[in-house]
Amino acid sequence: MNKLRFYFFHLMPYPYIPPETEYDSTWVTLSNKYYDPQRGRVLYNEYIDQLCAAEKFGFDAAIVNEHHANYYGTMPSPNIITAMLIQRTSRMPVGMIGNAIPLHGNPLRVAEEVAMLDVISGGRIISGFVRGIGPEYFNNGVAPADSVARFDEAHDLIIKAWTEDGPFTWQGEYFYIPNVNPIPRPMQQPHPPIWIPGQGSLETLRFIAEHKYTYMMIYAPQWFTKAVFSGLRDECLRCGYEAPLSMFNAAVPTYVAETDEQAHREAKAHLSWLFNTGLKIPQQLFFPPGYMTVKSFRNFAGAYLKGKVKNPCELTYDDMIKHRYIIVGSPETVKNSMGEYCEDVVAGGILNVGSAFGPMPNWMVMKNMQIFAEEVMPEFREADGKPDYLREEPLAPVTYAEGAARFGEPEESARSKVTGIDDLIEHRTAHVPEVIDASQIDKAVHDSKPSRS
């Protein structure tokens, strides 16, 4: 197994907006009139190309997410993007981290779409679930005070829909479904791997530990990520098991170039945009009342007042570098920083490596990806340089012949009753004369014609 996994995490930002000095928020209230579909088309297609390129460069997965009514991430439906990615890649896993399940009217829709993607992709889907961030509750009719309870119920419903034979009745507080019976079912058993991103709240860590899910720490200073990972490890021990390294992933935007100086010169403006413009969100939108429990809010507000945590839009570029919100430099620097980082926080994977940060041009993204793949990645890989998934047998056969060899005949062959024939017809051979007597059909056709007078 490789020392570290690298996930190419894309947000799909839209940068053609007025400067952030002219408004309070790039979320909720900054008008959608600034979105130009002509420019959007170009960006979407570049971003999709970048995500697909991640397979050739050797990333461990391409990852997309869901955000609403903002310019930081213009991907209200990660499932749509994933549908395109699985058609243009063959072996690389694709993750949606994740679907904002409390915000949707019917969580079964998510269960169905993810199952479709998992089947079509041959079991390559990572299914993340999120609550949606605070501002998103201003664009939906769901009360932030219901967020946690709706998340829990939607999660339980989706997992049950994937793992138990339907139909069954769901009688929840928020959702009532007389017959839960989603078709298709997912290919991965018992269900696709589940990732949960978080900001380190104890409630989230407990949830992950109890379910043995994979954690993804969102942007945070290194010391905080370390504390949170250690908290998660403790929670897992409390649940009676030692957490595997693959459970711990951190989102650390990474930019690599020929030299340290060159890397900073190229990345500074765009990484600053990511935090200072893309995440310009006033506190009252970030934390709508009820979104956090009073206890979590007390912890967070306490840390904020002591200056321990900052609103992302208040961070300077030097803060970001110093506290390792981001890693920027020459291949040598990035290798060392990343090695130190992962050893210190004890992480198994890094996300947002080489991705498109803010208004970063396409060529710069591709340059970052290539240098990273060729000059940093091998350091953390086995001698063969492969991502772990390439050393495993794919869940779905690559060819029809393999499929026939591995799975043979289906358990239920397609049989049905055909008019005028007593036996059930086996559809695979339904057209051969031994099964259907053509003369009888001719007679039936003849009989049905109106007689000429």
Partner: protein, 275 residues
């Protein structure tokens, strides 16, 4: 199963000014905090989304004329918030039981702001128990043309500015920014308010249900309410049968704090007429 399942226990901070120890009434498994003073006609006051835990000047003035009862809703002041608490239906049933336990069958009901919505809901459920209904800068109906600002999107300074037109009064009631516990408590109270009013910001059924009221009703509006459009009070006055609309000059949304004396005069006069 108890009505109350889990209660997040935290020490409730006590404001310096106007704080008084509440009484408690165990109601459906929940300890409802309330304050009560005065004699005469029983008048129940339902608070808005703030300024709890206090025996405010307006309450003091009212208690000189009537038996003034001010309960605190779940999640406000010293009444805890049960996790099962969801909507105005829960609130109205809780208040009904609470008032019965206090021996208050027929009451004059007053609601301010969010409490105005609660009072209108109560009256629509129990019209026979309400001798008169007074709504002060209430919310709860749909204003199709101009829904007004979203109070949850306002920063604390913007919210304070929009609540008060009299800035001297605003300064007097400004929460101390260095009081950490009070800040957390206000987040908790806002969370309880969001549970009741986040979406939708109105109850369309109220317009129909209020039609069955036979008691006299009064709607008090501000001269220039910059939080909730003045049309809201006007619409309530239109919808309520046997209602009248009064305006308190030189006020914003927080009439109770800005002009307690004028407001009390209007309220006591109306209650006297309706008794």
């Amino acid at each position: 199963m108890s009505y109350v399942d889990v209660i997040d226990k935290t020490e409730i901070p006590k404001p310096d000014k106007y704080y008084t120890e509440p009484s408690f009434e165990e109601t459906l498994g929940l300890r409802i905090a309330y304050r009560r003073e005065g004699s005469g006609e029983a008048v129940v006051f339902l608070h808005g989304a703030g300024y709890t835990r206090r025996w405010l000047p307006m309450y003091q003035m009212m208690a000189k004329g009537v038996d003034f009862v001010a309960p605190e809703a779940p999640g406000f002041g010293e009444t805890p918030l049960p996790t099962s608490f969801r909507d105005f239906g829960d609130l109205v049933i809780l208040y009904d039981q609470f008032l019965q336990q206090l021996g208050l069958q027929e009451i004059h009901l007053i609601g301010y702001s969010m409490g105005g919505w609660a009072a209108a809901e109560f009256a629509s459920y129990y019209p026979n128990r309400v001798k008169s209904l007074t709504l002060i800068t209430p919310i709860g109906l749909r204003l199709e043309e101009n829904p007004g600002v979203d109070l949850f999107q306002l920063s604390p300074p913007e919210l304070m500015d929009r609540l008060f037109n009299d800035k001297a009064v605003m300064e007097e009631y400004m929460p101390d920014p260095d009081n950490f516990d009070e800040g957390i408590h206000l987040y908790a109270e806002f969370s309880a308010a969001a549970r009741l009013i986040w979406a939708p910001r109105y109850n369309l059924a109220l317009e129909r249900r209020l039609q069955r009221l036979t008691c006299p009703s009064l709607v008090v509006r501000a001269e220039d309410d910059r939080l909730v459009p003045n049309e809201m009070a006007e619409k309530f006055a239109d919808v309520l049968p046997a209602s009248r609309l009064e305006m308190i000059p030189e006020t914003g949304h927080e009439i109770c704090l800005e002009r307690p004396e004028q407001l009390t005069n209007v309220l006591l006069r109306f209650i006297k007429e309706a008794s």
